[in-house]
Subunit: 148 residues, 4 copies
């Protein structure tokens, strides 16, 4: 399983990253389908993949002093995913304001492209003490350069 | 740990249930605080407590043929909870349309009442095959009677 | 939901703490029963309750510099728990060697006392840098005094 | 991310499957490392990969009437994994008795091959009603043929 993911563009020129993986059994619940909170963790994995595609993985951002805390999440559930389904998470950087990053997501079933879940999140930049900060200038520059 | 929870009213007369529990270690993440997806599972636990307070627990609703699938969730994160914090989840039934239930939530830290997270969800009534249905008349009646 | 839990003794004089809670929906999986990894998090919650019953909650141990990392876990699954079941986790301190703590667990269904899962864990004392250490003398003394 | 995984052999001729993925943020805890229960879900993902490598994915086994419930798990934790680490789960079929399957696992860090966690599980064959059963003859045959 290679995870070379490339930075793409949507029709509006916004940077987009796709990542795909299979549904794990523990992500399901007694309804026989994926539990709704699992998709929220997939959004997070979408952000991780996004930063890896930038060549600037979030793990390094954290080491460099930029923590991105979730300030808001919204999700709409259209169709359920099931165990072992291959899914594609499409993550788009919607905005990059001075104090954070806004992403949107679309989760598709790989087999037929069906749209399962859509959502968006607002991340706020904090420092290690948990205080809201501006994205440090160097880090911003590095991300902007990667986005192109 | 008794879990006798009573049905309360908010200022607008809407039914409200409070449930309290402690943050578990596994609900935290490497930021040292509760992971954002954990609150989504607390909303769910708020709904469970709500139906127990009605005297009509969700487990019985499912046995009676009413499954409530999550169609939409929104959450705003104000302050982080930490391991072992006692938290109170306040769950309000906002609306009870023909095909589901809408809830809102406020998660407070018990020690000082600080507001940690707010959110709301929209549940859709489905049958065992996953098809959207109207809330069956008998079940609706039973819930309406319990709400009073 | 009060969580005043008392330190008890088993037949061999070992300290025991019981904690009870209800199964959450997200802890189930597509088999319709509680996912096996959830019980591992209940063991952890059992340890948390144990330290609270000591009057020396693990959160404070961590603040005092004692981190207990899991070195080993073993679990046997006898009967499944289901959503909304009330369960009782019985946590026993089996041994308190110089570099850690060993616990065993029995998870029962509250309604009929049925034994669902048994297990044990070995915790190793580490410092904040993750190095194995002896349990600091003061902390050991404090725990020993609490155990009585 | 392709997930074509091949069936390998260990030195004793037992069938082995390797799967690799990255640590997700939500799998970590406040110690800054992967939570111990997450590895248990990786074992499960190892089993899923194993059955996919057989050409007989567990999802299909379930559809064919063979459910494998966890009866026992044991894990030893040697070194911690961290967020974004690439890990390799090596899953070995240790035994295939009449009423289940026994697996062992080794989780390695991909970057340097360090051994992080080892463990094993015992799965018991059950039917849809949760009763222990013999692995149905046809399914056994199909698995044996795939193992070769």
């Amino acid at each position: 399983m290679s995870d070379v993911v490339r930075l793409l563009r949507d029709a509006d020129g916004r940077p987009v990253v796709e990542t795909r993986f299979r549904v794990r059994y523990f992500e399901t619940d007694a309804m026989g389908i994926v539990h709704h909170a699992s998709y929220i963790t997939w959004f997070e994995e979408g952000r991780s993949a996004f930063t890896r595609a930038l060549g600037y993985p979030y793990a390094r951002m954290e080491a460099d002093g930029l923590l991105l805390a979730l300030a808001e999440v919204h999700a709409r559930y259209h169709l359920p995913a099931r165990y072992d389904d291959e899914v594609v998470v499409v993550t788009t950087l919607d905005a990059f304001p001075s104090r954070g990053m806004n992403f949107s997501y679309a989760v598709h079933r790989a087999s037929d492209g069906a749209l399962l879940v859509t959502g968006n999140t607002r991340q706020v930049a904090i420092d290690r003490a948990g205080r809201v900060q501006q994205v440090p200038a160097e880090i911003r520059q590095r991300i902007m350069a990667a986005i192109g």
